[in-house]
Amino acid sequence: MDWLLIPLYLLMVAALYGALLYAPTESEMGEVQRIFYFHMGAAWNAFLAFFGVFLGGFLYLFTRKQSWDRLAASCAEIGVVFTTIVLLSGSVWARPIWNTWLAWGDPRVMTTMVLWLIYVAYFLLRSSLPEGEMKYKYCAVFGIIGFLDVPIVWVSIRWWRTIHPVVITSSGAQLEPEMIHALIVSVIAMTVLGVTLVMLRMAMRLNNSMAEELVQELVERA
């Protein structure tokens, strides 16, 4: 995946330029709105990575090929990083705009929070199990259950919390064409970043397991 690194670098530079210089300043919110460009990309990636966890888990249970578990674990790592970015950047944005760090009434905020909790739980489960088929199976099951949960959480918050609307959605404001350009570039850049990181982590995991197999062989021969 080294061939991705140069396009990734160029995309990120373009995204930074687009978000910080090219896009005009938003009239109501001011400069802080620029967080939005990376916040959107990170949010999309967080959910995409979660789908990756589900897919990896599901296909592992089906095929028992360890590469699917590597996909799931790597997606979970990248996903938790992106979800943390979403929550932090969202809070920084929300404080001056909505006068609160965390908008407990907004379905997107709460769903992202639950997503983060499920990711972290996934890692705690992973780290308390020894390497082996049991670990991969259990994590796959948890990944599937967690994935089923996210739309349920969304619906439940939508139906029972958004009775008290505190928020004006950011997509309610019309976006200037330059803003849309910057947003698209930023989302693409973040997606390529996410994919690159997942592929790198999968390769590292593969190397790890190959190294461990070699160690096992040496130990057995000795």
Binding site: L61, V114, L117, I118, V120, A121, L124, L125, S128, L129, M134, K137, Y138, A140, V141, F142, I144, I145, G146, L148, D149, I152, V153, V155, S156, I157, W159, W160, R161
Partner: protein
Amino acid sequence: MNAITLIWTLVAKDLKIEWRSRQALLTTVFFALLILVVFNFAFDPGSPATREAAPGILWVALLFPGIIQVNRSFQIEMEEGTLYGLILSPVDRGILFLGKFLANWLFLMVVDLVVLFLFLIFYNFSLSLQVLWIALLVVLSGFGFAAVGTLFGAMVSNIRTREVLLPILLFPIILPIILPAVNATQEVLLFQEIQSLNRSVGFLVCFDVIYVAAGFLLFDYVVSD
């Protein structure tokens, strides 16, 4: 033996074990009672704010004993080594799941209904017929909780840190039950209206169906070696 008989045998086995010692039942109910008392100390019982928060307190007091129960239900199996007996028997793993899950659910129902009764008394709510609606919510939400809890309980039974890991795994998944349950309890207790319960009940039923199905399908992966 057909499936129903098998499930009934499994449920009866678990319930008989509980009934013989009754220790689990009493300690779980006592634990829930303690939570209600702790909340009474933590919040000023006289203030109207506490009365508004009361539905939430009920559901917290229902959740924690639930976690303890699903944890325990597999811990006994592990301690006595009977889990292997169950796995080795020529029973479809999905049936095993249903048996375990229904036993857990029935146990929880007994505990929960006692807790509900105590809650109404502690927080000074009238024991009108409308309370039956809350009992319905307890029954429905307990169903989904027991399903996910049984699946995860089996999963963590092998792990050393199971006591702390099970809540970490379970709580994020059952968070969506809490909102409709608390909201509907609020409607019934504080506003005496029951029209809006349709949505809550429908949601809980969907949740239950999804997670019982998921548990039924995935239990095999969690108990087989």
